[in-house]
Symmetry: C2
Subunit: 213 residues, 2 copies
DNA sequence: ATTGCATGCATTGCATGCAATGCATGCAAC
DNA sequence: GTTGCATGCATTGCATGCAATGCATGCAAT
């Protein structure tokens, strides 16, 4: 239905930076752009507000961005949830509930991410990095955690779009990804949780300190 | 505005069991009940769907309830988040960023909860228990975590309404609350996280196994 | 008796009109 | 020059009409 069209289109436009943080969106504008009436647009904007991607601001809504403090909060929650999903994924692996092909896919994405980063294809590296983390969350088989993480990833992505910079220590990040994969493959739940949490908090520090030239 | 009225009224009706899990709600019914038009009701129902309290079901929506598996997932996420908030609260206490009155309030609620449980006032005990956990989340000063937890608590509440039974080991639960308070007061972050997680997972087991007579 | 189909109806999704609201802009007064 | 106010306008919130949709119900046919 139209509402879903509006929702996904506008979400994409926000996530790819076409509507940057602070940009003001009005029902009428968006309705005109998408060539539909205000009603479905209105519902889509409300849904985006519930997801934290926009916030009401006087008349209309503006694309939300997490300020320093909020970003820190987001990373803490993300770290806790990714520790959980890593732990659950490792546990499921230990119980033999994870298909070998899924583990292979995880390894592949980790490798591709490292390659893309090393070759300077940062936009793609960002996509692959997210896919890597999402794959783990999917292996955890906890839809609630996955859903919560998708929301947080979206918010963080919007807020750090402008700083699309190379990680300060690419080898370090890739190494952490490998450690994480190894812990999951070996079914070491506690270790996976520990590494996942440390990794997220580690990227937090670098991301929030970097600024694009 | 009307949408917010509809949202809070319907949410309350769901949370107090007036609309039990499985109950079907249509825009027109609710609009008639609340004496407003369909538009704000429609938006409220969509918001509730985003919160996971209702889900679309053919025409209209039905009050959602978590099945065994989903409930398990919810408790895992809740445990991870409450471990985080307990840890953050303890850390803030260690840094002297928590007012003594807030700690006193936390102690009081823990005591009241234990008393209400011991005296068989279970409905009130449930309310106090939630307040206890929310107070900790507020002390953590992480609005994202608090918000996520509110959503999960709501969903769990709806799904366990019918089993409004005394905890199987009231003294045990009260003891865990005291341990948790102690760890926070002493600023022992790791211990607080450990106790919080164990406590949530402990109540999970009992709650999902109990059935009201 | 059971299955398939047609018809009616409940209900939603979307569009649009109208009234309310609050913000911006400009003018006047101090 | 600055501050306060009034007025106009952009924009939203809500109501309602209309068309589309899909489900239920009943009837007929095998």
């Amino acid at each position: 239905m139209q509402t879903d069209v509006a929702l996904s289109r506008v979400r994409e436009l926000i996530l790819d930076g076409t509507y940057p943080p602070g940009a003001r969106l009005t029902e009428m504008e968006v309705a005109a752009t998408l060539e539909m009436s205000r009603t479905p647009v209105r519902e889509a904007l409300r849904a985006l507000a519930a997801d934290g991607l926009v916030r009401p601001s006087g008349r209309g809504v503006v694309v939300a961005s997490l300020e320093r403090g909020d970003l820190e909060e987001a990373y803490q929650v993300r770290a806790a949830l990714e520790a959980l999903t890593a732990e659950l994924a490792a546990t499921r692996q230990r119980e033999g509930r994870i298909a070998p092909a899924d583990l292979a896919a995880l390894r592949d994405v980790a490798t591709e991410t490292a390659t893309a980063t090393a070759e300077g294809r940062f936009a793609e590296a960002v996509r692959l990095n997210r896919r890597f983390h999402r794959l783990i969350a999917e292996l955890a088989a906890n839809s609630m955690a996955l859903h919560a993480l998708e929301r947080i990833w979206d918010q963080i992505q919007v807020s750090t779009l402008r700083s699309l910079a190379p990680p300060s220590r690419p080898a370090h990040v890739s190494g952490q990804h490998e450690e994480l994969v190894a812990a999951i493959v070996l079914g070491q739940a506690d270790e996976a949780a520990r590494v996942a949490r440390a990794h997220v908090l580690d990227t937090r520090t670098t991301t929030s300190q970097e600024e694009r030239a």
